[in-house]
Amino acid sequence: MSKFFTYAGSLIVLAAAVLAGVGAGSVTVPLPEIVGVLIEAAAPFSPAEGSVNASIIVDVRLPRVLLAGLVGASLAISGAAFQGLLQNPLADPYTLGVSSGASVGAVLVLFLGLSFPIFAIFTLPIMSIVTAVLTLLFVITFARMLDKTLSIETLILTGIVMGSFLGSVISLMIALTGEELRQIVGWLLGSVAMRGWNYVGLLIPFFVIGSLLLLIQGQELNAMSLGEERAKQLGVPTEKRKAIILLAASILTGAAVAVSGTIGFVGLVVPHICRKLFGVDHRHLLPLSLINGATFLILADLISRTIIAPVELPIGVITSLIGAPIFAVILYHQRKERAVA
């Protein structure tokens, strides 16, 4: 029963965040009107209504809020999965360098104008996913070469070094293409602004596949968070499950990065708070991270565009401002606990 309230509460907060995200901004739209517009937009034969507010909501804010929600949900659930699999609460797409890896793929496509006819419009997310998977495999293999136990420090250090390296690669590519710099930097810092419905559509199939694949790994992640060997002893076919989890988390990260750039720490902060509030059982941690991750990024986006309006802050600034201190706190507690043990 308490689990029911947990889910219901999380969903209600998410709904409130969506309404706030759609309503607030340079023009404030009152709640009844939002609801009216949303119902009309959802109706099958909606009349072509020309209200300015309706157009703001449907064409600008709603896709932005939905995109923020989907990206937040993707990053948070993949963060939770990485952490369980690697038995490491500091692992997330950003600290592992996977986000940077996905950026390389995205930048390659965007700035070199790549397009593979068989993938059509999905060239961008698919390239991001491919480079994300490659980066992840490289980071894990390299970290394991340094330290067989895959300790927190080695893994994070490798991920961060990899991230900086890939960041330089991206800068180099940008310098060589000679494009306008501000736009690019904005993209790198991460944003869900002005992407429109196209990007929402681009993300949804990957979001659905990746999330479903992860949501059915709850019990396996519980066992694997005790260590891979222990999981085997408990009967988990670890090789297969590990491949599925890494692939699914990379699909989610790659696709999210492809549509929004690098948004750091979402995958770290949200699962951390969810574990504190709702417990560590991955059967519930995964779906709850998904829901609350969406809420978190919608609110972060809302803050980024309203706090010093009319100037808009990159959303990555907000998430890093919240995420970096939490990273420090987790690291501190981990070290302290192990010093005692």
Binding site: Q233, V236, V280, A341
Partner: protein
Amino acid sequence: MIDVKNVSGGYKEAPLIVDQVDFSVRKGEFFGVVGPNGCGKTTLFKLMSGVLPLWGGSVSIDDRTIDQYDRKSLAKKVATLPQLQQSYFTYSVRETVMMGRYAYQSGLFKHPSAVDERIVDLILQQMGLSKMKDLPITRLSGGERQRVYLAQALSQEPDVLLLDEPTNHLDFSYQKQLLDELKKLALTSGLTVLSIFHDLNIASLYCDRLLLMEKGRMKKMGTPDAVMQKTLLEEVYQSTIDVYANPSVASPQMNVMPDYPYAADGALGPQLLNVSEEKLVFQTSQPLKTFSSAVVGAGFGWYNHFVNYHVDKSFDCSQPDAFMREKFKEWQLPEHETLAMMTAAYVTNYASRHIIEDDFSLYVVVTAGTSNAVDVLHGEKHGFIAAPGTVNTWIFVEGELSDQAFIQAVITATEAKTKAFGECEITDPVTNTTATGTSTDSLLVASTQTGTHIEYAGPVTKLGSRIGRAVYEATASAIEHSLKGKQL
């Protein structure tokens, strides 16, 4: 039940760690694996649980090799109790135990069934964990946590349980608790238990059979008695180990011997003896290995304070032990390092002999009275009375005596005492025949266990002949003193 046939294996980029190990364990057996660090015990267990691939040979459970089982069905047969480990995620006790049911759960979301819930609750209750089932596992003590992991392994409902040093990090009482629990399961539920042990004594106490490994190979397999052999263990562990009979149960006991020598503190001689009206006290700075029939400290033990206390003939002997311990406090003698005898003879009438040889030295102290003189052939004609001892003989040897030498020294000394009774023409007052001793004589042999090793102490050996002579002379002269002095 579990058949390990010529199993070999190891890790990537490393030499063979387990080399052609071959044994089988029957249902309900408690099987121990011992051996020095790095001999391949843990690797062997990883091969048996299918965590590591086999390089050669086969492991079968119920006549099916483990590669014929998929992971889940294997987890229903074999469970492993891991060494205590830290997890970064703090599950509750019940969540942790529920993970043991993984192999029984099906469906996309692996929701626990009613059966899973019931079995987990039952095991929590069996392990005494019901009360703490909702606590985070980090709030538990090491012993409780180990019980949670045992509960997790048992909730797999396995036929075979593998344990890798289950008593690591556990204090004495938890070790016993855990092993008793396992032994009970082996005996009552037919659970087959295979366990790696560091502690040879624990292994020998709990296991039906032991496998001793050395450098990845089987060195010896059999009952604890067959495996726990001094020369074998010394060879495998490369250190000095003594094997003794356990005083309480029929399992051998091992002691590791330090290789540094005891500092000998000069000859054991009269300078260490302190005589007063009420008692003789002999004190050494290093403890002596002692074999005696003393009131306090009988049997084998190590002592450095020896007391021979004079009491009146009418002394109530119902609780001499408690009486003497009270006295130790009064005299400020350390209770656990002090041995005590009692005598009705006047201790100032003692006699002693000090003999120094090249390879050992000997110091004998005797107090004697003859009032309870008895001919051993007519003992039954004397009613049994618990009375303070009359002839108390102390034999201190500087040398290293075997157990055999201790007992031979006792025999030799007793013969010498009897001889002294004969020569002094002491008679049994009841039968008027020659007495062989008194009814309450006591004896101790103590040795520094340093210097020359002495295997025998019978009357024709060098030590034995000196003991015989010294005890005879000291006893005769002590009897003479007591006859001349105050009569008892």
